[in-house]
Subunit: 249 residues, 2 copies
DNA sequence: ATGGCCGTTGCAGAGAATGCAACGAGCTGG
DNA sequence: CCAGCTCGTTGCATTCTCTGCAACGGCCAT
């Protein structure tokens, strides 16, 4: 739409491949050297491009700073909320959104079930970290030594007979979750409640949040709940795409 | 230098503060809405800007992809080399550059001492990981659980009486190095050779490489070598700045 | 010395970006 | 239910900016 800007921006992916000098840039843009020079200068003033000691150009620090700042100001919750509501409208059950922060997993959003029987949970409250589906998803994405370190520090309260009893079992469960890309909690926290969850990933593939659907046995059996998994995963993926700014150009 | 590009690029830091709609962008750029629209469209085509479901604009994923690609294609060695040579010209001793990769520390560049007595080392060869100054610097930057995991897996050969004997001592040494921002190896590998080293950091502050200066006792004492520390650190910092694309705009 | 290479600058012409005005969609309040 | 507002969008004529050219100067190697 804007030729000048279009050309200038075309320089960025070009430089991402590696440093280049003025001639190379001009050639690949198919413009006169003087034109390329002026474009590069403008990019330089904005810090998007850096001139190294051998006079060649490469991408500048500002780019990293921008990317970082953008990530910090990104609010998963804001982006996820409409998707969570939509899912809730489709399937009716309670939907949760959670993040990992300083050795805790916290609910940061919740859409109440439309069935009369509801489950107890509160936004901002720490999650039962050893059994909840969202906790498994968030912890499963940590590096191996970190997973071990966290797992060994935790307590393993036996909320029910199906609660995860110790660090070894927990690590094994995390490995499974990591592998399959989704998680469950079948009566591990409260005997009569089942959950299924899926991860939400940022642009770099790291898990930034997790969502889950919870329902009591009296409404749907665990098996029935599992049939909803594709919908849950689709929702999580949609949020991931929007969160990471899906624009394949 | 180029008004159009200048305006377009001014949108990026603006959006980094948070999502904004067309009117806000136009106002802050002090241009007509139609102009802002066309600029945003161009940025959008390049994926630098993303339009969320409420029509507002925010920074796009391409920005992250670019930053990432740029980092991957960055060659520390290429950038560091002239600095290493310069340092060698000033002080004459052997200068090394090393990186950490899959549980090993590897020399990736070396500038030979200008004194007749030289030390043995080879580019591409793994470093004595428990004693070398560069190894300490690189490992000290890992996360605490990772440091522990690595330290426990290592062997601790007693090259000399001053070699680090076990994991506990090594972890303690790493803590010191992490704190002070530089490292030494005083006869820990070969009785008669001392080293001092400093870290090279990327834009995010993480240590991407380490450099060191080595000299045998017969040329300079350990004390004399330590007086060179400021120069070494200055060189390392200069490389860090260039590597991370120092351009404060 | 000298020729070639690369980055840089001034200039005039050409083409592209700009602002305007008008349209349409969506929302709010009367 | 309609009137009136806001906000995004489009076509167009004008103007201003960007473009390519040619010439200069520094640097390196021959």
């Amino acid at each position: 739409m804007s030729q000048t800007v279009d050309r200038a921006l075309s320089i960025l992916p070009l430089l991402a491949e590696g440093p280049a000098d003025l001639g190379q840039v001009a050639e690949r843009l198919d413009v006169h050297k003087s034109t390329a020079l002026r474009l590069l200068r403008t990019l330089h003033e904005h810090g998007l491009v850096y001139r190294q000691s051998d006079q060649r150009y490469r991408l500048g620090a500002r780019l990293f700073a921008l990317a970082q700042e953008a990530v910090e100001n990104l609010d998963v919750r804001e982006i996820a909320h409409p998707h969570l509501v939509e899912l809730n409208e489709q399937i009716g059950h309670t939907v949760h959104l959670a993040v990992y922060e300083e050795n805790e997993v916290l609910y940061i959003d919740k859409v109440e079930s439309r069935y009369p029987v509801r489950m107890y949970s509160r936004i901002g409250k720490p999650v039962a970290i050893t059994v909840a589906a969202v906790a498994k998803l968030l912890l499963a994405d940590l590096s191996e030594p970190e997973r071990r370190a966290v797992a060994e520090k935790l307590d393993y309260p036996m909320y029910t007979a199906r609660s995860i009893p110790n660090a070894a079992a927990f690590l094994k469960e995390l490995a499974v979750v990591r592998e399959q890309g989704w998680a469950t909690d079948l009566g591990g926290h409260e005997e009569s409640i089942n959950c299924i969850g899926a991860p939400i990933r940022g642009a770099d593939g790291k898990v930034v949040a997790a969502m889950s659907v919870s329902a009591p046995n009296v409404v749907v059996t665990a098996e029935e709940l599992l049939t909803l998994l594709p919908q849950v995963r689709r929702t999580a993926d949609a949020i991931s795409r929007e969160y990471s700014g899906h624009t394949p150009a």
